[in-house]
């Protein structure tokens, strides 16, 4: 039966309203988890607060398992779910630039908007920076277009690359996450900090 809008079970007119409701949930959970604090987010990279690791991986795994089980029960057609296409070179270089932005700025785009919503001025400046950065990209697009389009692999899934089922991949991700959660807990004990 799902996804509901692409299959026209719910009219396309409702899609933007759904986006708004989903966004409220997204913003509420991010703020409750403490993602509105750059010092808490940056704690990930110094070991004193690994909330990013825990929330991010628990979230990804929950949605991953949800999709796999929904598909198993016939509740969702995975062929209609958007899978972001892979362009290896630009994904890696883009990710490296974003990683630098993360440790320098202390936020990522979603968390900065969430933090701006509760009055964090540093987050508002970060959002202004994102705006400028995207503008620079748009203006430099003709120069970088060839690299941007290179290495296209389409909407490729990790499970297909390794020739395993989606469920087997999910199990491996869960095992990896449990090990990382344990390391995170140990790091927090080793470098304790007051909370922000």
């Amino acid at each position: 039966m799902g996804p509901l809008v692409p299959q026209e079970i719910i009219g396309a007119d409702w899609n933007l309203f759904i986006a708004f409701v989903v966004g409220i949930g997204f913003g509420f959970v991010l703020e409750q988890a403490g993602f509105s604090s750059s010092r808490k987010l940056a704690g990930m990279f110094y070991g004193y607060d690994t909330v990013v690791l825990k929330v991010f991986f628990t979230g990804a795994i929950t949605a991953m398992l949800g999709l796999l089980f929904f598909s198993l029960f016939g509740w969702i057609d995975l062929n209609l779910i958007y899978v972001n296409p892979t362009f290896l070179g630009s994904a890696i270089v883009g990710g490296i630039i974003m990683g630098a932005g993360f440790i320098i700025g202390g936020f990522c785009p979603g968390t900065s908007v969430c933090a701006a919503a509760i009055g964090k001025i540093d987050a508002m400046v970060f959002v202004g920076g994102i705006f400028l950065g995207i503008f620079f990209f748009a203006e430099s697009f003709p120069l970088i277009k060839d690299f941007y389009m290179s290495g296209s692999m389409g909407p490729l899934k990790v499970s297909d690359v390794f020739g395993i089922s989606g469920g087997a991949l999910a199990l491996l991700v869960i095992i990896a996450a449990l090990i990382m959660f344990k390391l995170g807990e140990l790091a927090e004990k080793k470098w304790p900090r007051e909370e922000y």
């Binding site: 799902g2 899609n15 409220i24 913003g27 990804a60 705006f131 991700v173």
Partner: protein, 169 residues
């Protein structure tokens, strides 16, 4: 450790359910940087419509029957502002403040926040999505791009953490 925030594993499950809801209803995941891109496109279209129509970047999003602000991610991010505000109000965290490590000045924090934002904005377009759109939603749909983005973003932040430690610890 006493915490004023939600248990991170519970928050993660709730985040996953929000993401699953986006997939189940709209057939797509969450995002953030794409909404700012819409704002950039809309702003350029207003300020320099000729430039927007001729540019190989903006022309993909502007035209007779296209309005860049009427996008899924724009409405989702308006929701994030509302949801974040409600959570802050609910937990007594609404406050104008420049949050920074006591060892640095507020101005230094703001300069670095701005530089970080520029880098994240640029990288999010090159990498076709940020931590939410490419890494989180991509991983949930098992996409190679999602796992690659996640490793590149977090790997680089870890690798550079030493050089920026004075800003944080």
């Amino acid at each position: 450790m006493k915490t004023k925030y939600m248990n991170p594993y519970l928050a993660g499950v709730l985040l996953g359910l929000v993401l699953l809801m986006a997939f189940f209803f709209s057939g797509r995941g969450l995002g953030a940087s794409g909404a700012v891109k819409s704002v950039v496109v809309a702003a350029v279209e207003v300020v320099a419509p000729g430039h927007a129509a001729n540019s190989s970047f903006y022309s993909k999003y502007v035209g007779e029957d296209k309005s860049p602000m009427k996008a899924w991610l724009v409405f989702e991010m308006i929701g994030v502002l509302v949801g974040g505000f409600l959570s802050g109000a609910f937990s007594g965290r609404l406050k104008w403040k420049v949050e920074h490590f006591p060892g640095i000045t507020a101005n230094r924090r703001l300069v670095f926040a701005g530089i970080g934002g520029v880098l994240f904005g640029y990288g999010s377009q090159l990498g076709r999505g940020c931590t939410s759109g490419s890494a989180l939603s991509g991983m949930a749909s098992l996409s190679v791009a999602g796992f690659v983005s996640m490793m590149a973003i977090f790997g680089t932040a870890f690798a550079l953490a030493f050089f920026f430690r004075k800003n944080w610890i």
